[in-house]
Amino acid sequence: MIITLSLFAIGYVLTGLMRVRSKTERFGLGFFLAFGLVGFSLFCLTSNGVRLDRNIAFVVVGLACVSLLFSIKDIVSVRIKGWWWLIVMLIGLSLLINLYWPPNTWDALTLYDFRAKLFSSGFLYSDLYQNLSEYNANFGYYVNGYPPLTSLVASLSYLLNESAMPLFTGVFATFVFLFYHFMEKYSSKKIGIVFTLILASTAIIFYHSTIFYSNLFFSASLALSSIYLFDFSKTKNKKSLLFCYLLLILSSWTRTTEPFYVIIFFLSLVVTISDKKFLNILLCIFLIVLTLYSRFTWQVYINNFNSINKLEAGMSPSSIIPAKEVVSVQIGYINGLTQIFTSFDSTIIQEIIVYVEKSLDIYKYLLFSFFIVSLSRIKYSFANVVFWFVVLSFLIMIAGVISFSITVPFWEELVDSARRMMIFTIPCMLFFIGTAINNSKDDNRN
């Protein structure tokens, strides 16, 4: 709880320094940025031989106390009115659940929470690999299979002998605040509060606010990234583009296998090029390069790390993956797709349709609503960045399923993974529907 509140305080001041005006936006965005800043700092420490201990946690708390001095006035002036009470109740329920239950879901025990506990007991990455790989080389490889952002920040909670679970209530709450900020900005207060309540009460999102998985943070960062891009497309405010990419980098440092970041690259280039403002185009290219650098930093680091440690563990050189093949991980997706045209078996079309149906069963009514709204406003939809983000995301998902059906033998068992992977489309579709219904004047036909 202390670490969660610390991130709020630090983030609030951070966004103040970045001249973000709205209080709701500062509470929301600040938490995400503080989460990322603290997580990345801990990564730098643990990968350079500095073991985490309580002093580091105290530094974070100390920073938070200093931040509070600058933000206490704003915090105490917050008033909860009307329907906001329902949303605060939902956040309160999530917190109540998280204060009681320990991490106890499958992936939390096998990876995220296990890693956080090891970091908090002084493990470095090299220790993780060596200690776990002595009898099974897969252990070290598995534990580094996902970027460490959520585990590192959670380890601070363990250093203070408290539960790491309230962090996820923090992610949930700030996600909701930031979503409301943009709903109110682009529709109305009434629609904003209704759609925010819908988002906060969405079963899969509420559930993920009570478990130690990386999906909620990833989905929130990615969805908000697309909404900031929408904000940039409307206001041309460079800060919005910057925040879009900062959130995209955070999503990449939470989960790295999902390729949806390329849609943000593509859409931001389209927006900036169509603006014809050279500085914005340059800024966009710079941010793309920065995002790619941050993604590859992690992948190159971990592949080099795995390579070195496999050599030290006495494994044969043929089993080592050279660092230069990191790029092929990304190209692998393209290879998988081109295989479709050379080896695609039409008999699996039905299996793919069944798989996609099962994966998207919890989304179908929302998707239906999304398409009705978009088809009734063709011009508005085609000019809307969030619309294209959703459509291209589902197309990539289907392309990924087709690719997996060729390359992964047990692909049909991964329905739940696909379902969780697409959580980020929920706030995007809600945002689009809420703003389209309130705003569009063109193509509003029966």
Partner: protein, 297 residues
């Protein structure tokens, strides 16, 4: 004349949907599909369209609101009763299927929503009501999930870590605790392949969480060079996964004598600490989980 028949016809259809929802509640979700060959959700979809197209009298709004309130309170009540007792209690006692009860709430939402969307265009009305159906289902799902957790918390405010983990992991957690208590931290433990009914005890990453820093090794992946002087053990398990092939009985499938073994019987009691010769044939169907000392083999 035609105009006068439209609303009554709609009401008849509304009561039909309500009746079918009651059938699904009493029997099971999917019974309508079985007997009519039409999925119940198509009835709901048609009701949605009709509710938007048919003009309903303003004076009936209060009646529908009263109905909605009663149904919502009913749903909250049965959900709380279910969470306060056990899964399927409401069905076993009152023959009310909780999953089917959601449809009752949705029906009233579909009836009431058009009253509040009168200024919207037709396609927007359809989109918003479908969105509303999705949102209401989610809200009820969230309520059900949260109440399940909170009721347990209220009934067990001082539950220990073990009790909380046992709630979600059941007997598998007891199995891991047994192994943890009866093996030294520097030991190596063989686990079954992750297949059939051994999806949990055969998952090396899952087992590692409970037994770390013990070394976890798949029995079919023994590397001679890693066999050290450390004590070696093997999990004995009947298999905790809910589905899969159990034709070979408990794992390990081999029969061999050992110095010492500890087991959980079918009532989750630990047997005595007397040394036991591991005789697989005598143990099938009696013990669910155990730890076998392989030292000296």
């Amino acid at each position: 004349m035609k105009q006068k028949l439209i609303y009554p016809t709609f009401l008849v259809y509304f009561f039909l949907c309500f009746g079918l929802a009651l059938v699904e509640i009493y029997k099971y979700p999917g019974v309508v599909l079985k007997f009519t060959r039409i999925n119940y959700s198509y009835f709901i979809f048609l009701l949605t369209l009709l509710s938007i197209l048919v003009k309903k009298p303003e004076k009936h709004k209060k009646i529908f609101k009263l109905g909605a309130t009663i149904i919502i309170l009913f749903y909250i009540g049965i959900t709380l009763v279910e969470t306060a007792t056990f899964n399927n209690f409401v069905f076993s006692r009152f023959h009310i299927n909780l999953g089917g009860a959601v449809n009752l709430v949705l029906i009233f939402f579909i009836i009431l929503a058009p009253y509040y969307l009168q200024r919207k265009k037709l396609l927007d009305k359809i989109a918003l009501i479908i969105l509303g159906i999705w949102a209401v289902s989610n809200l009820l799902g969230t309520f059900s999930f949260a109440s399940n957790k909170i009721v347990f918390q209220l009934r067990h405010p001082h539950a220990s870590y073990d009790e909380k983990m046992r709630k979600d992991w059941g007997e598998f957690y007891d199995c891991m605790k047994l192994i943890q208590s009866n093996t030294p931290e520097d030991s190596s433990i063989y686990i079954p392949p992750q297949a059939d009914v051994w999806q949990m005890e055969g998952n090396e990453y899952l087992v590692r969480f409970f037994l770390y820093p013990r070394k976890i090794i798949h029995f079919d992946k023994i590397i001679e060079s890693t066999m050290s002087a450390n004590p070696k053990f093997a999990i004995y398990s009947w298999g905790y996964w809910y589905s899969g092939d159990r034709k070979n009985g408990a794992w390990p499938f081999e029969k061999f004598p050992t110095k010492q073994a500890f087991f959980l019987d079918s009532k989750n009691n630990i047997n005595s600490d007397k040394p036991i010769i591991f005789d697989r044939e005598k143990m099938v169907n009696k013990e669910t989980c155990g730890i076998i000392n392989l030292e000296g083999l």
